[in-house]
Amino acid sequence: MELLVNGQRRQVSDESVLVWALRDELGLTGTKIGCGIGLCGACTVIVDGQAVRSCITPVRAVSGKSILTIEGLAKGGTLHPVQQAFIDYQVPQCGWCMSGQIMSAVALLEQNPRASEREVLAAMSRNLCRCGCYVRIRAAVLDAQRKILARKEGNA
């Protein structure tokens, strides 16, 4: 079966679950695995603009759709504002949850650019971080939100 991942057409076996197709078949190990049943968010990727938990997504459900993983987020060496904010605020500790945190935040800020702090926390509350980087995740996502908005307004 063919998948469209980070703008490229890739072949995977049609029985697979998306997270394993990405990681084990395509070698895109930036997408992580934490719980396998949709509870932790470590496996989050963006499918047609929506944050999706790849551990509970059969590849059949996403064939023909546009899949974005952490590896495809930076554009030509320039980090996405959310990635940059996660560095600016020195967010990651072990880093294992971070692809999922970043992809969830990217999808949230695309869908709801003016999300309130409460809405940000509610959306991010389904992404667990065992290292406890929460103080900085909050600061970084809110900072990225400000920068993305400022840039949009600058362009308008």
């Binding site: 190990t29 695995i33 500790q93 294992w96 929460y134 995740i137």
Partner: protein
């Protein structure tokens, strides 16, 4: 594998001249931190060879690569605690080049990791602080001397850059490292290696950005679960249905017939049944198709375990005796209270994972581990090779927290399966395996008794019972002679200046495998001791902060505790009214020579306790990377908060109940408190101290004490769930 020949110099450095494929190298051997010596002592009693002696090879070293770059081999692993950056800062300081300009490589067991203690116990920066700077300084001096001979300029007028040596006043006059390499066999380690003085430091004490973060926000960092090898297959292992299950019979014929299965391995004696397949899903299907018959053993219930973990019978070991607390308490006990903490699971978000490539004469293992040298021993034994035939590469760790220290079941599983199938095999545990089949934090029980006289505590006793923490890793024979488990009792002794003090600990063998968890016994013991101090303060009618200050010893500990207590209290607004509906609690702890105090501000939403803010003050001596230390403190607070509010594992019907985060919930961002961190250095003795675990100490106690301040009711059992809050409020 690296086949370097090392030569010991008079100053205790190890030097190795350029060889085929490797440039000049210089390293140091490390002494063992105290706790490691202790473990070695115990283990040696049982099997003299297992912890080895001094090795002929260095543990931390620099290499001038054939490409003319400076490379640092790290003997400790990066699991999120920032050691890669902190250690590179130490090296950069003496080399005089920026941390980002040093090539940093995680050493394998063949390249430097030999200490069996591994990366644990908040000891990394402390143990490497001096030796690593000395090695860097010696490297610097050698490079300068060599360049001086070529450039005909005094060494003092030269400096290092990322690529070579240059004349400070005329940077255009320089020589590349690669042009110095040819001469290296003649180099001598200098006799005098002056270290920079703290006034000269540029990187130590600076919040140097983490070196590993770009790779961690782009998905490029490689962890144990991410390792991929050509021709790699996937393994899975059959797990027992109960804690005590023993495999009796197994029928693997259905599994063997499945199309993508390459091998089914059965070792009844060892209770091992594993499969190798072309995908993880196929391996799981094969495991599901195995029919096994088990002796299930006893169907343990949590109540049985709580009964075992109870203080008071024969066999306790007195670990603190000041004055004569027993006689004093016989004259009258003013207050007695009991506390309990539950099983809790480290459950790093990256589950155990390893890839192994076992050949007839050697094996290579890539694994997410805190203890690569132990894994090397284990794998060698499991596949019948000598230790020097096994090389273990530790990867980045997606969290460790003690779970990836000690034994690595997954590395052995991958190695056994790789040997059986004759190809590289990856094994990655599921969350269910992680929650049910690892070693976990043991439950504890505490009984504290004290006598007050004129508002002061004159006598106190802490009776403590815990499952094993560190002694689970020590052979049974040695355990018999050891007595108390110094991991389980971390934080159990009473630091306050109370004339009569006694702490007695019971070590309980349990049917659940237990072992190290971040901070070991620190959270449980501090919860008990600091809750009890709070109870005594209220009984004496004193302010909890003033009561603690009034009981501090008149020594360095007392001064440091006073400093952190005052700093946290002042910043948190202690003594001023809390916002409407909220209250504050305070607690402190001492651990690995670091002192921490915290103030928690809480409220109730229904029966559910909400922690709004933790103000933390920590005296951890000299700080190498302030922002890195703050990060550790913030994370530690989340661990303490999770233990205080949520984390509890239990046994039902012979097995641990939780198989995923629905039944073992972790703290999430919407329940996470704000954290403010204040760093102090009261002693100013130029020594860094551990920061990975100490910040967790007081959190749960501060939260419980705040709940009491809010409601006048106390919850003496962790976690403080809505059910327990309701029970306390209606009692």
């Amino acid at each position: 594998m690296s086949q370097r020949q090392w030569r010991l110099t008079r100053r205790g450095f190890l030097i190795s001249a350029g060889l085929l494929g490797g440039g000049l190298a210089l390293g140091v051997r490390l002494g063992w931190p105290e706790v490691q010596l202790k473990i070695a002592e115990f283990a040696e009693a049982a099997s003299p060879t297992s912890f080895g002696g001094a090795s002929a090879n260095p543990t931390a070293w620099f290499e001038l690569t054939p490409q003319g770059r400076l490379r640092l081999y790290l003997p400790k692993v990066e699991m999120g605690q920032g050691v890669m950056t902190a250690l590179t800062q130490l090296a950069a300081e003496e080399l005089g080049i920026a941390p980002a300009q040093i090539e940093v490589v995680q050493a394998s067991t063949a390249q430097g990791i030999r200490d069996l203690f591994g990366t644990a116990g908040s000891t990394t920066v402390v143990s490497l602080f001096k030796p690593l700077r000395e090695a860097a300084a010696a490297m610097r001096e050698m490079l300068l001397a060599a360049a001086s001979a070529q450039l005909k300029v005094e060494p003092a007028a030269l400096a290092l850059s990322a690529e070579g040596v240059f004349v400070q006043k005329h940077p255009a006059r320089r020589i590349a490292f690669s042009d110095l390499l040819a001469q290296t066999s003649k180099w001598e380690v200098p006799e005098r290696v002056p270290l920079k003085s703290p006034e000269q430091w540029r990187f130590i004490g600076a919040s140097v950005p983490r070196l590993d973060l770009r790779d961690k926000v782009t998905g490029a960092a490689v962890y144990g679960y991410d390792v991929r090898l050509p021709g790699m297959l996937y393994g899975a292992v059959l797990r027992p249905p109960t804690l005590e299950a023993r495999l009796r019979r197994v029928d693997t014929s259905a599994a063997e017939r499945l199309p993508n299965v390459r091998k089914v391995v059965v070792d009844l004696g060892a209770g091992f049944v594993g499969v190798v397949a072309t995908s993880r899903a196929a391996a799981q299907q094969a495991i599901a198709a195995i029919r096994a018959e088990w002796d299930e053993g006893r169907r343990w219930e949590q109540e049985d375990i709580d009964r075992i973990v109870t203080v008071g019978d024969e066999g306790g070991v007195v670990i603190q005796r000041v004055g004569d607390a027993l006689s004093e308490l016989q004259r009258g006990v003013s207050l007695q209270a009991e506390y309990r903490t539950p099983f809790a699971i480290q459950t790093p978000l990256e589950a155990q994972a390893a890839a192994a490539d076992v050949r007839p004469d050697r094996a290579t293992v890539w694994v997410s581990t805190q203890s690569a040298a132990l894994v090397q021993q284990q794998v060698a034994r499991a596949v019948g090779l000598r230790e020097d035939q096994v090389e273990v590469f530790p990867t980045f760790l997606g969290g460790g927290f003690g779970r990836k220290s000690g034994w690595s079941e997954v590395a052995v599983e991958a190695a056994r399966l790789s040997k059986a199938v004759g190809a590289p095999v990856h094994v990655g545990w599921s969350r269910a395996e992680e929650l049910q089949h690892g070693f976990i934090r043991p439950p504890t029980h505490h009984r504290l008794s004290a006598r007050l006289q004129d508002g002061r505590v004159v006598a106190i006793q802490h009776e403590q019972a815990s499952g094993n923490v560190l002694l689970s890793f020590v052979p049974g024979i040695a355990r018999g002679v050891v007595g108390a488990d110094f991991g389980a009792t971390r934080g159990a002794t009473i630091r306050y200046a109370i004339p009569h003090r006694r702490t007695i600990a019971w070590r309980k063998d349990l049917p659940v495998r237990t072992g190290p968890w971040r901070g070991l016994g620190l959270v449980a013991n501090t919860f008990a001791v600091e809750s009890f101090m709070d109870e005594l303060a209220h009984l004496a009618g004193a302010d909890p902060l003033a009561f603690r200050l009034a009981h501090l010893p008149n020594d360095a500990w007392g001064r440091r505790m006073a400093a952190v207590l005052r700093a946290a209290a002042e910043r948190a607004g202690w003594g001023k009214p809390a916002p409407q509906g909220r209250a504050r609690g305070i607690a402190c702890s001492t651990d690995v020579d670091t002192v921490v105090a915290q103030v928690a501000e809480v409220s109730l939403e229904g029966d559910s306790l909400r922690v709004h803010r933790i103000t933390l003050a920590m005296d951890c001596g000299l700080v190498v990377n302030p922002d890195g230390v703050r990060t550790q403190a913030e994370g530690g607070v989340m661990w303490g908060g999770g233990s205080a509010l949520l984390e509890e594992a239990s046994v039902r019907n012979g097995q641990l109940v939780a198989t995923n985060f629905d039944r073992y919930p972790l703290l999430s961002i919407d329940r996470a408190p704000d954290v403010e961190v204040i760093l102090l250095d009261t002693l100013r003795d130029g020594q860094p101290r551990g920061v990975g675990e100490p910040p967790m100490g007081p959190t749960a106690a501060a939260i419980a004490n705040a709940l009491f301040a809010l409601t006048g009711r106390r919850v003496r059992q962790l976690p403080i769930t809505p059910t327990r809050v309701r029970a306390a409020l209606s009692a």
